[in-house]
């Protein structure tokens, strides 16, 4: 049973980071109806960029992180402006595939600039592990969870009180009405991409402070898809709840199913969950069931 607590704590904390990344996806999906399949690659490039700033350029932490956030905002703006703005009102197939092209491009950029396959960030959090009951948890997990929680709080305040946040929610609700009120919808799209990229960057830094920078970060981004599928594509609450569930399932499954199946089962559990959710409840736990009319 000693393992159980360990798995639960690791699962929930990692799941919160997944939820953070997934929020970026939900944000873009809600405001502009674009499914961002380049999420994993975005997480990857931001982690490498952090590496470039902190290790290769040797900048102090605060400056490095400020530059990473700046880079995320600029990249988000650029992606929306160059790749997605011209595709407004195009069929969903084009909107999805353009982000696939983006994913391919970003992966190319990463191998172009950082041909190494693994790297480690400098130590961001205290090293010594913390004992919780029988479990030994590295502090990076707890810090990641705490930072995610703080960001959830900030985001919900942002959506509730900030003018831009309210405009984003309004856009998600009814684009036409928002436009009629004189809110520039394209600006909202662009802001939501910036925010999504920022979340991906923070999620990437947190994940790579836990496990180092590897190609596995792309799969972290893909796991965020299983979070949004489970939680419902258009639900912030769903993403926040589904994140820890996925993390939990992944760690518990990895812990207890590996002897029964094959190694590496941990990595595919989120994908198996996707398939199961598709069969049982395709719109997720909290997603809005869309009724289509001709």
């Amino acid at each position: 049973m000693a393992d159980l607590l360990q798995f639960v704590i690791t699962g929930i904390t990692v799941g919160m980071v997944y939820a953070l990344i997934a929020l970026g996806f939900v944000l873009v999906w809600k405001s502009s109806g674009v499914a961002n399949l380049a999420l994993g690659q975005l997480v990857l490039i931001f982690s490498w960029f952090t590496y470039g700033m902190l290790v290769q350029a040797g900048l102090p932490l605060w400056l490095g992180f400020a530059l990473v956030i700046l880079f995320a905002v600029v990249l988000g703006w650029l992606i929306e402006r160059v790749a997605l703005r011209p595709l407004i009102a195009q069929p969903i197939l084009s909107l999805i595939t353009v982000t696939l092209g983006l994913a391919y491009f970003i992966e190319g950029v990463v191998t172009f600039i950082w041909p190494k396959s693994v790297a480690a960030l400098p130590r961001l959090f205290p090293q010594e592990p913390i004992h919780i009951g029988t479990a030994v948890v590295s502090q990076a997990y707890l810090w990641a969870a705490a930072i995610s929680l703080i960001l959830f709080g900030l985001l919900s305040l942002f959506f509730k009180y900030h003018k831009m946040g309210i405009a984003m929610r309004a856009t998600a609700d009814d684009q036409m009405a928002v436009q009629a009120c004189g809110i520039p919808v394209t600006k909202i799209f662009s802001r939501s991409w910036m925010l999504a990229c920022m979340l991906a960057a923070i999620g990437g830094v947190l994940m790579s402070s836990i496990g180092g920078i590897t190609y596995g970060l792309v799969e972290t981004g893909l796991k965020a898809f299983s979070v949004v599928i489970l939680g419902g594509l258009d639900s912030f609450l769903g993403a926040i709840i589904a994140g820890p569930i996925i993390g939990l399932a992944e760690n518990l499954g990895g812990g207890y199913l590996t002897p029964l199946t094959w190694p590496g089962v941990r990595e595919v559990i989120p994908f198996i969950i996707i398939i199961i959710v598709m069969f049982l409840k395709p719109y997720g736990l909290f997603g809005e069931v869309r009724i289509e009319r001709i």
């Binding site: 195009q90 092209g101 950082w114 994908f271």
Partner: protein, 352 residues
Amino acid sequence: MDLPCGTRGYSYAEDMAIIRTKTQWALFLTLLALLLTMPLYVRSDYWLGVANLIGITLIAATGLNILTGYCGQLSIGHAGFIAVGAYTSAVLTNRLELPFVVGLLAAGFTAGLIGLVFGIPSMRVKGFYLAIATIAAQFIIIWVINHWGITHGTSSLIVPYASIGGFVFRSEASQFYLIIGIAILCTFFAKNLARARVGRAFIAIRDNDLAAQVMGINLFKYKLLAFFIGCFLAGIAGSLLAHCFYGSLLAEYFSLKESILYIGMIIIGGLGTTLGPILGVLFVRLLHQILTVEVVPFLEGALTALPAGFATGISPMLFGLIIILFLVLEPRGLAHRWNLFKSAYRLWPFSY
């Protein structure tokens, strides 16, 4: 726009013929002759190998085009289905020592059936949901292949040469004829499928599946049929890839990147056209070859200060960029450009 001026059909058969005019027949036969005599004038085994890869890719891309281009069901797990075909065929011929033809057909059917399983969610969801389901399919398939005892994807699985009867397809030239024969068959099949009831049902589903259902199209049947055909062709391509191209298989040949590249090919070529996959595959594979064989070594020789990841990073960067640019600037692909060129050529020197 489709036909030159003055082309008339005096019977139904004439009207439905794919090749209508004498010029078209002449061009078609010339092209066929050029294609079939290719091993005679392309002497290098290397470029014949490239031609083989293009042929195999064309088979897979034709399948994906039926699934995504005609039926509108986006599949980002195509490389996974190709892997199913490749491994089925490899396991059957290597471990059970069955003949190649059995392996080839079994590869198609197994991939088709696996495709059906992952296609079932398409009944209830579409668009992004389906895309994610197929990505999940890709990862689950590769995981199973990697860890299952009889496939064991992390260490290479030796595949025997393709053989029919007593004849072994050992040289690149003989493999070329095998592949190109199947590729021509597939293209012909896809062209006719698109014109028949099934293809029209697919197009109706792509444009609006609810409206199609109201018109009496059985969505369940046709969506699954599209998945089956698309993945069947992927399986055939996988089998050929195993027997005629790789020779020994590793699961990492069939990555998610490869799946994205297949989507890219049919977008670049033009979704929902017969010509599209051909142009797209030629464009992507030839560009890749020219880039890695000619341009990169040249640049590396000419410029000394290149970053270390230049050789491996440049082609995904370029292809990603090309996919984005095509979607933004020419979403109907090269096939549409070709049609524009044809109609302009027919009317020249008049503007319309």
